[in-house]
Amino acid sequence: MEKLINKIQPLADPLGRMINGFTKTLGNLCLFVFQTLSWIPRRPYRIKNLFKQMEFIGVQSTPIIMLTGVFVGAVFALQTGKAFAMFNAESLVGATIGLSLAREIAPVFTALMVTARACSAMAAELGTMKVTEQIDALETMAVNPLHYLVCPRVIATTIMTPLLTAVFDLVGIIGAWFVGIKLLGIGEASFFDRLYFYVNLRDFIGGLVKSGFFGFFISLISCYSGFDTKGGAKGVGDSTTRAVVVSSVVVLVTDYFLTTWILEYFSQGPSV
């Protein structure tokens, strides 16, 4: 019996520690989310701070979003154009791209680009503030760091991601239009007719709602990761990496569930 225990112990020990660590992190994250949410409605409202974050997350992300949007739409048009040509259904290219952009591609790609550009910076900035005691300093000055640092970032990301998604939708279609109509020679009328016919408003709005959730998640995860930084420059690097990896994974995983829940509820009614 003792032998058995001796054998199991080296395996069970790290496993237990891992489970312990995971539940602790999850608990901390939940607490963090809860506290952030409870601080959001409280005064004072730091509008200037919020606008600063909105500018950083939204306005400054626009070029990269447009660039990726155009090329995603273009390559999508190229691929579907070639594939649909095999059975003479090129006129469906517009509808296919419109649907997939509105429902999936635009929200997910926008969230990933915002993660890569803005959320990594968020985690690095907050991490640096943590290791240089700036966050402690805030607290000693009787300012809640969640209220001052996290709330504006979360609100700004949650508002800006859907707006960027809308931009992505538009430029994606422009990219697809260019390749599909100008290069592949698909009829413009049929391209847009089918697009307007098959893409419903609820697909578009559903995508925006979804990207709002994405923005909320990625900003919270990145802020938490920054607040959770330990050690010096290496700690900041680690928390930045972790913020980007976890945010991206969370975007892709929650995408499935959000699609199932929100969009299913959203698309109830006679017109499917």
Partner: protein
């Protein structure tokens, strides 16, 4: 003013504070000395409620910090000013905005009033005309002074200094010491200074306490401290 009663604190099972009892008298400068890494900064962070003790009480002005809600804690923190070891200036804000930060958060002053107040504080710490510089453009001593200006702008009743002289040259050390004494005389505040610089401690302290192994081993006036027969103290102050 500040009373610590049997304060315990451990990080990941490692004891840092092991039953600390200490009383900081009002309007005096208390210096807490000790070797590096014995938990001096932790002690200081307990006093302002940045950390919560595992066991024990911290009483500030007759109020038990551990019994307070986060919002009440925010209120009590307005009595404090704290100077961090690394200054902890906000590197996204320039010098003036850094100094004005507590005022903007906690007062209803107009921007011109704030401006006047900031200039006054910068004059106290002996810095003028660097209002629009960013913290990254400042030297270590200047940063310390800006941080001090920021800490005192709300006219706190208690000032906490976390290793104010560490990493400074002797001349700068002396000028910071003088600043601390100045504050004391001009503003009538209770000060707690964490230091491992014994010479500086004797220069400014009314009271000195020594922390070792998670406990306060000696606490008393500078004279009492200098006369202590505790072997750790004797070793620390270099007395045979």
């Amino acid at each position: 003013m500040i009373k610590l009663i049997d304060v315990h604190k451990a990080f990941d099972g490692q004891k840092v504070l092991d039953g600390v009892n200490l009383e900081v008298p009002k309007d005096k400068i208390m210096v807490i000395v000790g070797a590096s890494g014995v938990g001096k900064s932790v002690l200081l962070k307990h006093m302002i409620g940045l950390m919560k003790p595992d066991k024990g009480k911290i009483v500030v002005d007759g109020v038990d910090l551990s019994a307070l809600s986060p919002l009440e804690l925010v209120e009590i923190r307005k009595k404090f000013g704290m100077l961090f070891q690394g200054c902890a200036l906000f590197d996204s804000l320039n010098v003036c905005d850094n100094v004005a930060f507590p005022l903007r958060e906690h007062s209803n002053l107009s921007s011109s009033e704030i401006k006047a107040k900031v200039d006054e504080m910068l004059a106290i710490v002996g810095l003028e005309g660097i209002c629009h510089k960013m913290p990254s453009d400042l030297s270590g001593g200047m940063k310390k002074r800006v941080a001090l200006a920021r800490a005192i702008i709300l006219q706190p009743q208690i000032m906490l200094y976390d290793e104010p002289t560490t990493g400074l040259d002797p001349i700068m050390t002396e000028s910071v010491d003088n600043l601390i004494l100045d504050m004391q005389q001009k503003l009538d505040i209770t000060s707690v200074v964490i230091s491992h610089d014994i010479a500086s401690a004797f220069r400014i302290a009314d009271q000195i306490a020594m922390i070792d192994n998670g406990k306060i081993i000696v606490s008393g006036t500078s004279a009492e401290f200098a006369a202590s027969n505790d072997p750790v103290v004797m070793k620390f102050i270099g007395r045979k």
